[in-house]
Amino acid sequence: MTQYRRIKIEDCTEGRGVLGRWAAGVRRGMKAFADFATRRSSTLMALGILGCLLVIVAIGPLVSPYDPDALSVLDRLQAPNRAHLFGTDNFGRDIMSRTLSGTRITLLIGLSISVFSMIVGLPLGVICGYYDRVGLIVMRGIDTMMAFPAIILALALMTILGKPGIINVILAVGIVWTPRMVRVVYSATLSIRETTFIEAAKALGVSSRRILLRHVAVNLLSPVIVQATFTFAFSIMEVAALNFLGVGIPPNVASWGGMMNEGRMYLTRASWIILFPGLFLALSVLSFNLIGDAIRDRLDPKLRDVM
């Protein structure tokens, strides 16, 4: 069912002068966002989780009760209590402080991987979709990359890149998820280039470069944003798996996967070491999955079949 946006009189009259128009624009944007957020209760919940995570990223070090790396042998393996809300690990480090500090690193890596997949995947997908010959060859390679299960390819790439480290993790997992971005952009480009407005632009003698930049790329925005959200969700899960296996970020940096790996030895004695980072990871992934679903349904319900 088509939904028409109701235009109020004040929307049209209020925008006087540059500042007024600007304010009206911001107000409209906020209203659209509020509409989007409250349409489904699951979206509101997901945005709530994301908001909390962002607050943790912003002020985490200020509110975290202890230094995430501070050792305190006397306090080791304490169950959650008033002094240590999430308990402590085998070195007496505060799990809450480490989990909060892991939030920063996780979101930073997830964001970097999504941006990486967009920077590489968008141009590649557009060119493959617009130029048949390039597409024929490159897409074969892209499909072959997708024949390797994600974690196996990521493990192999970590070996090729050499030392464990944040940059290498971003590159390895980024390379694993970029082919999926290319696929989405490619199939969207294929359908856009058949539309009448592209035909019209061609008939007017617009150059290919201009068509790609001004007409095709703009229309790819919604599938790319949606795919980037899903990439974020999948990649933080995969990064956690790499850290859990001990081949991701070096163990001296507090990461959720790494914490779960260290806690394995004490699983039955101190399950909170694993419980809390895992819970944070699951909630983050859940929030990005839900937001991705919501943006997809909002921007373009047709994408449901593609993604």
């Binding site: 493990l155 798996a241 779960m260 394995r264 895992g278």
Partner: protein, 315 residues
């Protein structure tokens, strides 16, 4: 049917060659050469050159590639740098665990996913439907290794009902009771994917239940069970088969971590150890075998489509 089969086989062979080529190229990107890695820093340049010549590493990349494909066809995947064993033999020794884990989790996926989806479709928005919606959301977000550890803590640690880790071969000991060790891993791996299959089965069934032939079948006075299973399920099965075949890749990925969690001697734990030890031939061998297997699964899926829906053969 014959031309359909030929086209699929040709497509599959192309994919296999591409997969092998990509693996080969990726392994060429590794900095440093395996000969000096194996011999260590005390080796003389002559020794390194000699080892390179024995392995054929001094030849051109193209010659190496041709030789490499030849070896692959003959089943020679090279030797482990660390254990000095043929890679194929190492994979063979660990195949049992991985195959049993894979089949076990596939069983969990199918046994929970398909009946769950059908039940959910029979009463949309009923409690089964809502339950599976929540499980599907949770399943897509919960890391399987975390679920595995939590299950291990409860069922192996606190309750002591099931073994917490390890697996002894059934082929060697003949003891079927060893399968108990695989219950928790198979469940933690399968559960996450079962919900996805259930959601697909549900929406596919809901589509089909609207069709006229379902009304006709009911009008003929057929029992509801016959209508659901015989008329609806068969027509709804294409998307279900697709999503089950997709779970293959997810199960392999998950198995790498799950085998590690439960200390299972499978191929997944082998690749992690090989990455930590930088045992390139083993990594390469596993990548290739898994990717070729994936191509085969896709091929088998295509054939199943043709079997379930005869119209596909003529496209």
């Amino acid at each position: 049917m014959f031309s359909f089969l030929m086209r699929r086989v040709a497509g599959m062979l192309v994919s296999v060659v591409l997969v092998i080529s990509v693996t080969f190229l990726l392994m060429q990107l590794i900095p440093g050469d395996p000969a000096s890695v194996l011999l260590g820093s005390n080796a003389t340049p002559e020794q390194i050159e000699e080892l390179k010549a024995t392995w054929g590493l001094d030849q051109s990349m193209f010659t190496q590639f041709v030789k490499y494909i030849g070896n692959f066809v003959r089943g020679d995947l090279g030797r482990s740098l660390f254990y000095q064993e043929p890679v194929l033999q190492m994979l063979g020794a660990r195949a049992e665990t991985s195959i049993l884990l894979g089949l076990g989790s596939l069983l969990v996926v199918v046994a929970i996913g398909i009946p769950g989806g059908i039940l959910a479709a029979l009463r949309p928005s009923g409690w089964v439907d809502n339950l599976f919606l929540v499980i599907a959301l949770a399943g897509a977000s919960i890391p399987s290794f975390w679920l595995g550890l939590m299950l291990m803590n409860v069922f192996a640690g606190k309750l002591g009902w099931l073994p917490s880790s390890g697996f002894t071969s059934i082929l060697d000991t003949g003891n079927l009771g060893n399968l108990r060790s695989l219950i928790l891993p198979a469940f933690s791996l399968g559960f996450v994917n079962a919900a996805l299959v259930a959601r697909t089965a549900r929406s596919s069934m809901l589509d089909v239940m609207q069709a006229d032939y379902i009304t006709t079948a009911r009008a003929k006075g057929l029992r509801e069970r016959v209508v659901t299973v015989k008329h609806a399920l068969r027509n709804a099965s294409i998307p279900i088969i697709t999503v089950v075949s997709f779970t293959f890749a997810a199960l392999v990925s998950g198995a790498v971590v799950t085998e590690n969690v439960f200390a299972l001697p499978g191929i997944g734990s082998l690749i992690v150890q090989s990455v930590l030890k930088r045992d390139y031939p083993v990594i390469q061998g596993i990548m290739m075998v898994v990717a070729v297997l994936y191509v085969f699964v896709n091929f088998a899926t295509d054939l199943t489509y043709a079997f379930v829906d005869p119209r596909i053969r003529y496209r």
